[in-house]
Structure formats: structure tokens, C-alpha cells
Subunit: 259 residues, 3 copies
Amino acid sequence: MNYKLPFIPERDDKPRKKGLTMVMDKGLSVQEAKNLCESSGHLIDYLKLGFGTSLVSNNLKEKIKIYKDNNIQVYFGGTLFEAFVIRNMYDDFLKYLSNYNVDMIEVSDGSMHMEHDVKCEYIRKLSKDFTVISEVGSKEAGIIIAPNKWIKMMNNELEAGSVNVIAEARESGNVGIYRPNGNAHVVLINKILDNVPKESILWESPNKSQQVWFVKLLGANVNLGNIAPNEVISLETIRLGLRGDTFLHFLPEEMKEEE
Amino acid sequence: MNYKLPFIPERDDKPRKKGLTMVMDKGLSVQEAKNLCESSGHLIDYLKLGFGTSLVSNNLKEKIKIYKDNNIQVYFGGTLFEAFVIRNMYDDFLKYLSNYNVDMIEVSDGSMHMEHDVKCEYIRKLSKDFTVISEVGSKEAGIIIAPNKWIKMMNNELEAGSVNVIAEARESGNVGIYRPNGNAHVVLINKILDNVPKESILWESPNKSQQVWFVKLLGANVNLGNIAPNEVISLETIRLGLRGDTFLHFLPEEMKEEE
Amino acid sequence: MNYKLPFIPERDDKPRKKGLTMVMDKGLSVQEAKNLCESSGHLIDYLKLGFGTSLVSNNLKEKIKIYKDNNIQVYFGGTLFEAFVIRNMYDDFLKYLSNYNVDMIEVSDGSMHMEHDVKCEYIRKLSKDFTVISEVGSKEAGIIIAPNKWIKMMNNELEAGSVNVIAEARESGNVGIYRPNGNAHVVLINKILDNVPKESILWESPNKSQQVWFVKLLGANVNLGNIAPNEVISLETIRLGLRGDTFLHFLPEEMKEEE
């Protein structure tokens, strides 16, 4: 930080286990990836090459290298995993990863039906050789999964070997853990928090109001994902109480009252 | 593509007649234009320098050259054509194009009143020396044009020499072929499709839900426009079934059921 | 301008007293700041390093130098001033500015309570050594300040030494002078205009519809702020009648009717 103020929450240095920020890259150029790393590389833990974008991107190897050189873990969006699996091409997916020097995998079933024990079996196998992250929740608007099922799936997937389990929201932030208007499903989220190790959950939070809501609920070091590249710095200020929305949140009571 | 999956729709290589993607540049710098071409140049057919932005842009010649070097056809937004015409400066507009080495023109009447035979006469004259694209639909919210009039105007303009006719939506996607909430005017669009050669129509679709809607209706090779520079790769994945929204759309039935 | 059309409003060259454009930088990289200056530097008067973003930004000195080399006045968002003041670290704030060679300050009270005479005292002291800009209006949704209080605060702050007084709207454009849906508080704004020197007011207008509304109300040379970096060129076309929304606004009546 360019100046160390008191009453600013502690943040771990990378690589870290909590307070993770996952960014979604929907097709940045090599130069734009460099720009992102220059401004925000120190704040980014995971970089997701969203859905199938990597298949139609130029200079992909070079871009992945830039992220890895900045100590950012890179993976392909789970939709790409599903696109290979639904075509019975799981082995080809592994070759694709190997070719691009990617050692982290997102296992998801947001766009296709997959029996949950099959999904866990993928996680179990893959976690021997890869860093595995898995996602719970449908991408389909209107599909409601009961809280007990969310909890069971999340815990099973962590037990199978996922380092983090992602709560789905899409880029738009209006499915999964959010209502169509973008507000959080509070009861669902609280039940999940009561029953799943919270430091293992990564909450997709593309919209500012969602980021603020989670930081107020769970503190500066909540794991948040689907952050747009140009919002990483802004998110960090929300975590640190340096934006209006959380400005008073981390201050001692007497300081708030004094004013 | 970085990996060739089966059951992905065919796309023609540039220059092509169908599946066109038109991008709106609202004032990119030269370096940003380079970034766009590096990541997405292979996917962009037309580049519109939106409305009057070219008049206040720096290094315009250099930027236009970058796009043309990437085999992208460049033109000024129709509002600029209208800004010259309403001032009775049509000849100066042609000089402006010549000075900037632009050989494609959008003829529109979205911001001013123009008799339709006058518009067609412009198209007829200009199409002798330029690639002409023309636009139907008002930029004014609340102005409803009857389907029969849309059809007649589109066919007349194609007959007069337009290579494509654009269905208006603005950058916001809430006028012309869309309702104020951004949903498509389904009846209007279906009537147009029944009566105008559909490979000649370019549908302005700035919002993702609109892009998804048209790809599901008309397939991967629908012509879409007013795409934001940072959404070109994402649009291509929607066309190819590599994003959740169209993930199942292009798969054979047995593959969907198997899962 | 790349071509001089008639019936385009006059704009002063920088440095200027009216028609100011204030841009919010939420964490651009050095290269992105260069891109912005190349495309739009001639159109930007003030550059705000939004809220506390400067504290977590890399290469801050270099970025500030780029803006200043382009004759853009740089300042830290008022939330940073408040973050130091609420911690009783006003003197440290001045050292922070000096270290980064920043000579303009925004004084605000949008996130904390501050007696108005205390705020004016800050303005009075600081205006001896700095260019001071101050902001009126709460960042909190639902807080309504009576028009008479807006007027009194604005005039007091101008009298205390602010070169401009900012009407609050946040990045989202839904508080302060705007309703939660983003529409302008018309009565409030008209009362302010009747009682505060209007060339001294800078209206935060992050959304296009707000920019259009103010240009139609107050002309091309209204002072507007919280403009996104990639909207600067677009805003200039709105000011000049080169975008659909204001296309007819600056034209003589006979030209509109002729068509």
C-alpha cells in the first residue's frame, strides 16, 4: 500500500488461503493482460479464462504465461470442461490443458446434467495432478436448489479434493445465490455458512452491491469471484474500508461517534 | 480455433457474407485499437466509428489504418452522415471520407427526417463508388414504425444498393427492434424475416441477452452489430455454443439426453 | 476537431473555466492512463483517482505524472480526504499529497459526519496552498438534504475558497441530485441553479441519460463529472450535438423544419 492507515483490515500476501480474488477474463489481448497485471496483479489470486473464450483467443500461450509470471493461478471456465465432457472427450481436455501449461481445473455442471457422484469422481481423480476448484449451482435462471442440497454438494466436493468450492452467480449476478434482481438469497447463504467451512467457499459477486454485501457479512478476507478486470482495485478498496460503502465498517465505535 | 471440437457450428473465414460481426468504437485510442485487433481482429467484419466520435478523435488516420490492415471494413456512424446532410454539406462529407481513406458509408435517417426516396437516392448514388450499408428505424424511444413499412424500406434500400440493411437498436438496445426493456419485438422481427432476405439484415444487438436470442432464432451465422469491443470474443462463444446460454443448442439430441 | 462543421457549440481550449469534464479513474494501469491521454487528454480537465484507489495502486507517481504532462489536474477522491480526517491524520494527508506531487484537493463529507463550519475551515486553509474543489451531498441512499441547505452549503464553500462545488451522484448516479432510478431531482436542481453561480457547479453525471439531460438544460459548456474513461469522447459528442440525443438541439429552427 502507498500509505499505511490504521484501522484497515489485515490482508495476507499472495499466495494466500483467504481473501481470494478471482477475476474473469472474457478475452483480453496480451497487452491488456499486461496492463491488468501491472495495475492489479498483486491483488489477483485466480484468473478464469471465462467459459469457452480460450478456444477462440489469439496468443493464448503468451497470455497464460503473463498471468503465471505474476503468480496468478490460471484456469479455464468450467463451461469448457463441460463442453469436452458432454462430447465424451475428457482425455482431450487434459491434453488441451497440458498443451497450454495449465495446472488448475474448474469442475462444474452448470450447463449440463451430471450425476453428483460422477462429478465428485472427476474431482477425486483430477485432484491428484491438478489444483481443482469446483462449482455448485445452475446457470439456468429459475432453477432453485434446496439449501440442504447445496450444503451436501459443497461438502462432498471439498471432501473429494476441491481446494475451493464456488457458489454460482454467472457474469450477470442474477442466478444461483442471487435473486433475478441481484439481491442475495440470504437464508440460503446463511444455511451454507452454518454448514460448510466458510474459508473454502468462493462467492461469485460480479456486482458492486454484492461485493459490499459479502464484505459486510464476512469481512475483508471473504473469497470473491467473477470480478471484472477493471474492478479489482475498486474491490480491494471495498475490502479495506476505503470506499464509501464500507468506510465506517472497520472503524472503532468511538471514532464513528466522535465525528 | 485453439482446439477443434465436434458439433461446433461452421463459420466462414473473412471476408465473408454471413455471420458478420459489427463492432462499435466510441473513441478507442490507437493502442486500444491495436489491442482489439490482436485479440479479436479475426472475428470482426465491420468497425463503426460511432456517431460523431471521429470528429473529436486524435490520430484518426492511424487508427483507421490499423483496422484496415486487419481486414476490417471501417465506416463512420450514420449520425455523422446525417450531421453533414442536414447542414447541406453532402459534398464535404465525401471529402471527409476521402481524406481519411474510408470507402464504406452508412446511410441512415435515425436522427433527422428524410423522405425515403431521397434516402434511396443517396444509396443509389453512393453505391457506385462506396460500399453502402443503410439503417432502418428511429433512434427516438416511443416511435413505432409499422412492420410493413420496415419491410418496404429494407427491401427498397437493398434494391438501391445497400450491401446490408441494419435494424436499429442504438448502443443501449432499447429502441427500434427492441422494447424499452430490451426484449425483442418478436412479431415485428418475424414479419421482417418473412419478407426480407435474412442474410442481408444486420441486427443491432448490444446486450448479451439479445445476442443469445438472435443466435437461437437464426443460428451461429446471424449478422449482429453494435457489439462492444470487449464483448467480441464472448459473442463468438455464444455463436459457437461455448457459453452457457447456447451450450446445448447446437448439440445432437442424443448427446443432450445421454447426460 | 478533424472537421469543422457549422452550428456546433463553441468550446474553450484548456485550461478553461467552463465546460469542464472530470473523469474518474478507478485503478487504470500506467499504459491505460497513456491510452486515455492519447485518445481523450485534450478533453479532460480534472482527473479524480476515485475514493481510496490510489492507496492500493502500483506506479502511482508515474501515472500522476502522465496526467499532469497532459495538462490534466489530478486529485484524490474526497473519500480519501475523509479517511485521513476521521483518523485525525489531516497532516499525514498533506504529506501524502506532497509525496505524490498532487496540488489539488477534494474536500467532502459524503461518508462521515462533519460540521459544515469545520468543512469550510478546511477549504479556507487548504485554498491558500492548493486548488480546492468541494462536494455537497451524501453518498447514502435515502438521505434527503433540503434545497435550501444545498444552496447554503454550496455558496459557503465557494466563498471559503473552492474553485468548483461538486453535486454528488456517486459512480452509480442514483443518490444526491438523482433519484434511486437515476432521474434528476428537477426541482432541487432548478432551485440550486437559481441561487448558486452555475459556472461554479460541477454535476456528477455518470450515466449517458444524465449527461444528455444536463447538456439540454445548460448547454454544451456545463461542467460534468464522474465520467468513465471510455465515455469521454462520447460525452464530447453529446456536448457538440454529434450524437442522436442532442443532434437537433443546437441547430437553427429553419434547418430542422427544412427537413
